[in-house]
Amino acid sequence: MRRFMEKDSLLELHGSTQEDAMIPLSQFREGERGVIVQVQGAGAFRKRLQEMGFIKGTEVFVEKYAPLRDPVELVVKGYHVSLRVEEAARVLMEKREQEAV
């Protein structure tokens, strides 16, 4: 596991532009969309998310936040799913231009 911590330093090699582009999903606002770059966290959590379709390169649309601002409803691979905000923070995204929904 430790080994993959190096990933962050690897990314640094690609220069700051890419790092700037990585935004935690939790910082997305309603109606925004982006593409998954990386899912961080412990094995079980990452695996579960991956199985539910949170794969690198998958587009995610932020449908809405719950009335109390947590959790957040997302559209992934054509279905609706909710994640707690603290969990969404572990999904690193690359923002996409706004498109008509």
Binding site: G43, A66, P67, H80, R84
Partner: protein
């Protein structure tokens, strides 16, 4: 020619309409039980189809077979160990991509698989056109279209099941999900070691074993480790391969494999799925924008819950009244017909009252489960959890815990059963354990009696504070259990929000009936035995005094209709005021129950309870309403006293009980085991005597501690 039974397992994602398909296949011939050792519901049914006997087993709905959740472990164990003849994967056709993930795992397991593309109509409506033949050819799996809600395609599916079982299907062939060169090389290496022991290959697919080992699957590793010599060589190879792959992909191998499976799926979908201009108007989404709206979401949710409460407890009070009257009538009849004596007492006070105390809950339970089935089947339950998760997560619970906890204020027994909607066993058991702290309506009469007697004008506030105390204790206990018994990271809140659907009445009714029938069957035994034990303790040893009618240990059916205070009071009064009788009081004091009260009194003395109160608390183990009637007998000498009886209030005030002791008693009644029905529900729902005993033990301990702190603390502060 006699044919053997074909075992068919239904697999599928949650919300894929699997249960509806299962209901259509088996109809009412289904048997509901539990999977061995866990609280996951197991449903199966045996049917005849064209002269074949099919045993259909409904596996728990899962997104995967990784064995992270209990459901996945159960489903996988069944597939691997019991080797069903055919597996049907029910797939939501309008959500193919994620649903096919499970299919890839089933293919890998090497089971005989059929893909049922369910809700095919919805997929078409959304503009998803699926080339089923091509999909079948690509996956090597026959594909059938079904519309579960309209019972379409079920016959075709069953025909296909028989064909596949008899190896007559032409599409079926075993394919490999290709993982790419590097992964395939390592899979082959692990497989080579496994092949050294040919007996393994006869039991499991070696490719599947190899893939699972590369995924670092705990259960499989344990199994392999048990193989001793060959096992350690297999594991060593798997470790080497994992390390090598990690170097190449710079990620955990299990992640890479998941990635590849989704890659395979999207490759297949490119060939078989054609999406015509997706219709712009998504009704479900529009509905959801209102129901989970930032401003409206919570008020609407509260309204639905209020409506559920009203339906369950207010509307339910009518049939409860009828059943109450019916049981009373039967009891009266039996009392007339049978000759006076021990046997009559047993039948009337033990059996009829005991059984009556169960079936009196039936209308509430049927209505409550109907509402919950409605929430579940329409898809609203997931939204309720979505809205409430923020609040519940503060206590370390899941959004879905909210409804069971709230229902506890009505009646804990069905509320505990409502905890079934929680997928994670941890969350479920935690919710069950703290549920009794939600003060049910049957406890209200005790509060009314004591608060009315000792607190006069501020009685309302005092009762309210008891409810608040219950909630505070639930929060504290929830946190405590979370950091002691249920340690570790809680499962991620990855919850699907399925599209809203109009449920079918048939499936609602089956849903409702399944759960209610289980309640009656399994809990009936516990309650019947329990109430007979209390009857026995109250009735023996036989007194030498002239016998008089009724004892407080007797469960007056009128008292058990306490689902609303009004109904309770009515039921009580309809019983008529019994004349005061010193004989009854003496008789109860001399009974085992009375002696037990004296015996345990020293334990309760630090809480400010006298022996009468101790007896009342003991008898309240069956049901909280009985506390009032027992106090009535012991203090006021009458059986049919209500919480508003003035004679009892005067007697209580005269007894030397202080307002502080009364408050401690209320707190005790709030906290300890609510009633036998709840114990039955806990036993049934946790499927474990250990948890049941724990629940009883912790609530008694907590009740004692809380009452002790209140009474002794209050005395220190000179409140009493």
């Amino acid at each position: 020619m006699t044919r053997e039974t074909i075992t068919v397992a239904l697999a599928g994602n949650p919300n894929s309409g699997k249960t509806t398909v299962f209901n259509h296949i088996t109809g009412t011939r289904q048997h509901v039980g539990n999977w061995p050792g866990v609280t996951v519901e197991k449903k199966e049914g045996v049917i005849q189809h064209n002269g074949h006997r099919l045993r259909v087993v409904d596996l728990p709905g899962t997104y995967s077979l990784t064995a992270y959740s209990v459901e996945e472990i159960v489903a996988r164990r069944f597939l691997v160990d019991e080797k069903p003849d055919v597996v049907v994967d029910i797939v939501d056709a309008s959500n193919l991509e994620r649903n096919l993930y499970l299919a890839t795992q089933l293919i890998e397991l090497g089971v005989k698989l059929i893909l049922a593309l369910n809700m095919a109509d919805m997929a078409e409506a959304r503009g998803h056109h699926i080339d089923a033949d091509k999909l079948g050819a690509l996956l090597g799996v026959p594909v059938v279209f079904t519309v579960g809600t309209r019972n379409q395609g079920i016959k075709d599916l069953l025909n296909k099941v028989v064909e596949v079982a008899e190896d007559r299907d032409t599409v079926s062939r075993h394919i490999h999900i290709a993982y790419g060169r590097e992964l395939e090389r390592e899979i082959k290496k692990v497989q080579d070691v496994i092949w050294q022991d040919p007996s393994i290959g006869r039991r499991y697919s070696t490719r599947w074993l190899a893939v699972k080992l590369l995924e670092n699957d705990g259960a499989i590793k344990d199994w392999v480790r048990a193989l001793e010599e060959i096992g350690s060589r297999i594991l060593a190879q798997a470790e080497t391969s994992r390390a090598r792959l990690a170097d190449i992909y710079r990620d955990d191998t299990e992640m890479v494999l998941t990635d590849q499976r989704y890659g395979f799926i999207s490759g297949a979908l490119k060939e078989v799925l054609r999406v015509s201009a997706e219709s712009k108007f998504d009704l479900s989404r529009q509905v959801d924008l209102i129901l989970t709206n930032r401003l409206m979401g919570i008020p609407i949710f509260i309204f639905f819950i209020w409506a559920m409460f009203q339906l369950t407890f207010t509307l339910g009070a009518y049939p409860v009244g009828w059943i109450d009257a019916g049981v009373g009538w039967i009891g009266g009849l039996a009392a007339k017909v049978l000759p006076a004596g021990l046997f009559r007492d047993l039948v009337v006070d033990g059996v009829i009252a005991g059984v009556g105390s169960i079936i009196i809950f039936l209308p509430n339970i049927l209505l409550l489960f109907f509402c919950i089935a409605l929430f579940e089947d329409t898809g609203y339950l997931a939204r309720a959890a979505f809205i409430m998760d923020r609040v519940m997560h503060l206590i370390g619970l899941h959004g879905k815990s909210f409804i069971p906890l709230l229902m506890g204020f009505g009646c804990n027994a069905p509320a505990i059963m409502a905890a079934r909607t929680l997928e994670s066993e941890r969350d479920r058991i935690l919710t069950i354990l703290i549920n009794p702290l939600m003060s049910c309506s049957a406890r209200l009469p005790v509060y009314i009696l004591l608060a009315g007697t000792f607190f006069g004008a501020s009685a309302g506030n005092v009762v309210f504070s008891i409810y608040g105390l219950g909630i505070a204790l639930a929060i504290a206990m929830g946190k405590l259990f979370r950091v002691t018994l249920f340690r570790g990271e809680s499962a991620p809140f990855v919850m699907e929000l399925p599209p809203y659907r109009v449920p079918t009445l048939k499936s609602l009714l089956i849903h409702m009936w399944d759960r209610s029938a289980v309640f009656l069957r399994k809990m009936g035994g516990v309650i019947l035995i329990g109430s007979m034990v209390v009857w026995f303790l109250g009735a023996f040893p036989r007194p030498t005094l002239p016998p008089s009618a009724g004892i407080p240990g007797r469960i007056q059916t009128g008292q058990l209709s306490a689902d609303s205070p009004e109904a309770f009071a009515k039921g009580q009064r309809s019983g008529g005021e019994g004349e005061a009788s010193e004989g009854q009081k003496l008789r109860l004091e001399q009974s085992y129950l009375g002696r037990l009260g004296h015996l345990v009194q020293p334990v309760f003395a630090p809480l400010g309870f006298d022996w009468q109160t101790s007896v009342a608390v003991l008898s309240g183990f069956v049901a909280k309403e009985i506390v009032v009637s027992t106090l009535g007998v012991l203090y006021a000498g009458g059986t049919n006293v209500t919480e508003e009886n003035e004679a009892l209030r005067r007697a209580l005030r005269a007894s030397g009980m202080t307002s502080l002791a009364a408050y401690a008693l209320m707190a005790f009644v709030l906290t300890y085991v609510p009633c036998l029905a709840t114990v039955g529900a806990i036993r049934r729902e946790t499927n474990s005597w250990k948890w049941t005993a724990f629940s009883i033990g912790y609530s008694l301990t907590l009740a004692w501690v809380v009452a002790f702190v209140i009474y002794q603390g209050g005395r220190l502060l000179r409140l009493g």
